[in-house]
Every structure is written in C-alpha cells, then in structure tokens.
Amino acid sequence: MTSASRPVSAERGGAADAGAILQTERLTREVEGRRLVDGVSISVRRDEVVAVIGPSGSGKTSLLRLLNRLDEPTGGSILIEGRDYREIPPAELRRRVGMLLQQPFLFPGTVAENLSFGPESRGDALDVERAAELLERVGLPDYAGRDVARLSGGEAQRVSLARTLANEPEILLLDEPTSALDEAAQLGVEELICSVMAVQGLTCIVVTHDHAQAARMARRALVMEAGRVVDDGPVTEIVHAR
C-alpha cells in the first residue's frame, strides 16, 4: 500500500483522540523559510510503539525534538493526555516524555552519577537498589561505580537508556538509538530496548532509517518526506511497500 491509498494520520489527527497519550495537530517548525516539520498530525495511543522512517533530512529528528520540546514549534500544537504541552513546565514535560539521543552524551563521572542526574534535577535521590535494578535491566550489573570514560559505545548507550528510564518516563522517544554503534553492539542494544519496552509497557516513538529495524521494533510506522507524514499504517505493510 502506498501513501496515495493509505489514510495518513493527518486526516485522523484533526479532532482530539480521547484514547491518545500523545497527539499533534498540524505541528510545524519553520527555520529561515524552510519547513523542517510541515503540518504533522499524529495520534499515539498508550503502550503503542511507533517507528518513524524516511530519508535523511525528512524531518524525523526534528519531529522528536519538538515532542521533547528541545525546539519550539512555529505552528500547531502537541497534546499530552489531552493537555496542551505548553501548560506543562518544560522540565516536567521532559521527564514525562523521555528522549534517548543518537549518541549517549554521558556526563563525566561514574555510571551511578549519570543515573541519578534526572532524579536529582527535580530534587529527588536515586537509591542504590533502584540504580542496581536499572543497571540489571540494561544488562550492566555491577557497573554503578565505573567511570563512564572507560565504557564501550554499546555500554555507554545502555547506560544512557538506563539514565533515561531512571526518570520513569510515560513516553520514550528514541532517535536512531543504535546508529552510532558498531554492528555487533547494534543488535544487542536494539534487543535490549525491545525487551525494556515490552516489560515496562512504554509508549515509544522510534526514529530509524533502517526499515528492518523498524519492523523488528514497532507495529506501526510513519513515513516522513520533506517534513510531512506521507504514510501511516502497520509497519509490515509499509516496509513491504517500500
């Protein structure tokens, strides 16, 4: 099925979707006359895993940055559980809508210090048991005291995932989470993310340029081209059509 025959989300995103945890309405970001994201209307339900695919420069990462409010939209709106996200303080929004970046960007120090960064930012502490549990979940038990400078690329991305999970996000945005890793580490991190998503029942939006990865990780796919969502449907059908 192609974009010509498939009803894209823009058509169903106009009205508020009562069951949606995240909804965008004609979301747009224009920079110096260029529309990076162009009127995107999507609706994501709780526990849903959505892959965003498309060529380089199609607006996938720009869309994720808007959802985490790292960038400001120039038009349209975003609703989190029906509430305009501008009404939510940015720090609170970013805790609820966690984002795993393409590169881990671990802060200098130990793994434990990185895990406690998010909770400490809102005045909470991350207890030792919780840190151990998170590290266990990402397959790095006993890493709490390690210096992050000594981690491999795959280990660093696992710590980055654990650091994001320490904030207990309701929605997880993943921006090409394995693209900066070597082939051997890619599959391990991808499997880990899938298992975490399944165990925690997280709502996830995964940006990837790899169609096979999209098919492995998600059930639904959005296809972006020139800032627009041009196709939206079951990932198997979309990947097969392309």
Partner: protein
C-alpha cells in the same frame, strides 16, 4: 644612554617611544621572516596606542585641575568604553554590549565605590582615576575571556547540554560545568598575577611609588591592595557577565538557542 643624549624631558619621552616602536617593528619583521603576518594590526595598534595615551595624558592635566566629582564621569566613561571594547571581542553574542556594561559597571564599579568609601582608594582624582582605570581594564579583560570561553563551551557541548535538558534539568544545571569553566577562564590571569606578585612581576604602580619617594614596604602593601581589588572586580565581572549570558542562551521554554551567535 638616551638621557645622556637628550636633556629635555619631552624630547626624551619621544626618543624612548621611537626606540620602543623600533623594537616592536623588529618583532614584526622577525615574524614576517617566518610567514607570520602581524604588520597591519601592529602598525594600527602602535599609532593608535601612542595617540590615545598622549591625548589621555593631556586630558588628565585638564581633568586634575577640575572639581573632584568629575572623576565619577571619567570612570563611568571608561567603563562604557571598556564595555564597547569587550563587546567587539564577543561579536555575535546576543546583547554583548549591554551584558558587558552590566558586568564591568557591576564588577569594577562596586569595587571602586566600596574601596573609595572605605578609604582604601584615595578619593583625590590623581589617585582615583589611575587606580580606577587599572581595576576597569582588568574587569574588561576578564569579561572578554569569560564570555568567549562560555561561547566556545556552549558551541562544543551542545549534545551534553541538550542531553541534560532532555533529562529534565534546568538550564542552570545543564550548563553548570561551562559557567564554572568560563568564570575560571576570566579569573586565571588574575590568580596568576596574585601568585607571581613581587616574584615574577613588580608592577608599575609599586615601581612608580618607590620612584616618587614612598616607603618601599608601603608601596608593596598598596600594590597588593590594588591587585586584590583587581581580583575582586574581575571575579565579579566574570560572574555577572557569564550569568547574564547564560540567561540569553536559553529561550523561555528552556531551549538552547543556538541561532544567537553561538553556533
């Protein structure tokens, strides 16, 4: 040797200036031999510096004859001129002049007013203006160093800053290591000055006081006082300017604003 050839003080000054300029030009020539081109900047700086200092010297004669309250305006003018110079160095950063003006007036101004009020700086113009100008000049240098360092730290660490923001950190926390680096960068020359005081460097003020017949121990202690004031004003200026620039680096929605000359 020059003093033996030239008897008149003014002529001696000109002769000394000519010899110094020749020394600077020799350095330019040496650099040029190694394909390092400093000609244009050096020629302009030499001529401009000479004219400026002669004009200021002449103006000081007039100012020192006037009422003492005029020193307030002279120092204020110096601070604004320092802010304009520092802002040129921080070109491309949003509101660089206003931030530098707040930083320098806040740093150097507070120190000068407080120390004059406490009697550490002699309120007579002959003392207040030269000491004040030293404090202002150092604040200007620290301001430029701190802002430039802050800009380069932000540009090099966008990923880390946004990783911090994405984890729900306030901008203040996300850039805390870079604020620390910037303020430290502004302070390093002042810390080195304090460390080397009297060992590597016998400053001009102390040398001048000794030559003018002051007690060498008092001259040394007073020099320490001046260096201490310079340290305080530089620290305050670096801190104020960096914190103000930090405020400009983020949008109200706590997004790092890269199109504000930081990229």
């Amino acid at each position: 040797m020059l003093a033996r050839i030239v008897n008149d003080t003014l002529q001696l000054g000109v002769a000394q200036a000519v010899v110094t300029a020749i020394l600077a030009l020799a350095v330019v020539y040496l650099a040029r031999r190694h394909q390092i081109h400093l000609e244009r900047e050096t020629y302009v700086a030499l001529v401009r510096g000479f004219i400026q200092v002669v004009v200021v010297g002449s103006l000081l004669i007039l100012i020192f004859r006037g009422p003492s309250w005029t020193s307030v305006f002279v120092l204020l003018f110096m601070m604004l001129a320092a802010a304009a110079t520092a802002a040129r160095r921080a070109r491309g950063m949003p509101g660089a002049f206003v931030i530098s003006a707040y930083g320098i007036v806040g740093g150097a101004g507070i120190v000068i007013v407080l120390m004059t009020w406490l009697g550490v700086i002699d309120p007579r113009m002959e003392s207040l203006i030269p000491v004040g100008s030293m404090v202002i000049a150092s604040a200007m240098n620290s301001n430029s160093l701190a802002l430039e360092r802050f800009r380069s730290e932000l540009a090099s660490n966008v990923g880390y800053i946004e990783a911090g923001l994405a984890l729900g950190a306030a901008p203040q926390r996300a850039v805390a290591p870079y604020v620390q680096a910037a303020v430290s960068a502004g302070m390093i020359p002042r810390i080195d000055t304090l460390r080397a005081l009297g060992i590597v460097w016998i400053p001009g003020l102390m040398a001048g006081m000794i030559l003018a017949g002051s007690d060498p121990v008092y001259a040394a202690v007073y020099q320490f006082v001046v260096v201490g004031m310079i340290y305080a004003s530089s620290g305050l200026t670096s801190l104020i300017s960096t914190l103000l620039m930090r405020g400009r680096a983020f949008s109200p929605a706590e997004q790092l604003v890269l199109d504000a000359g930081l990229s």
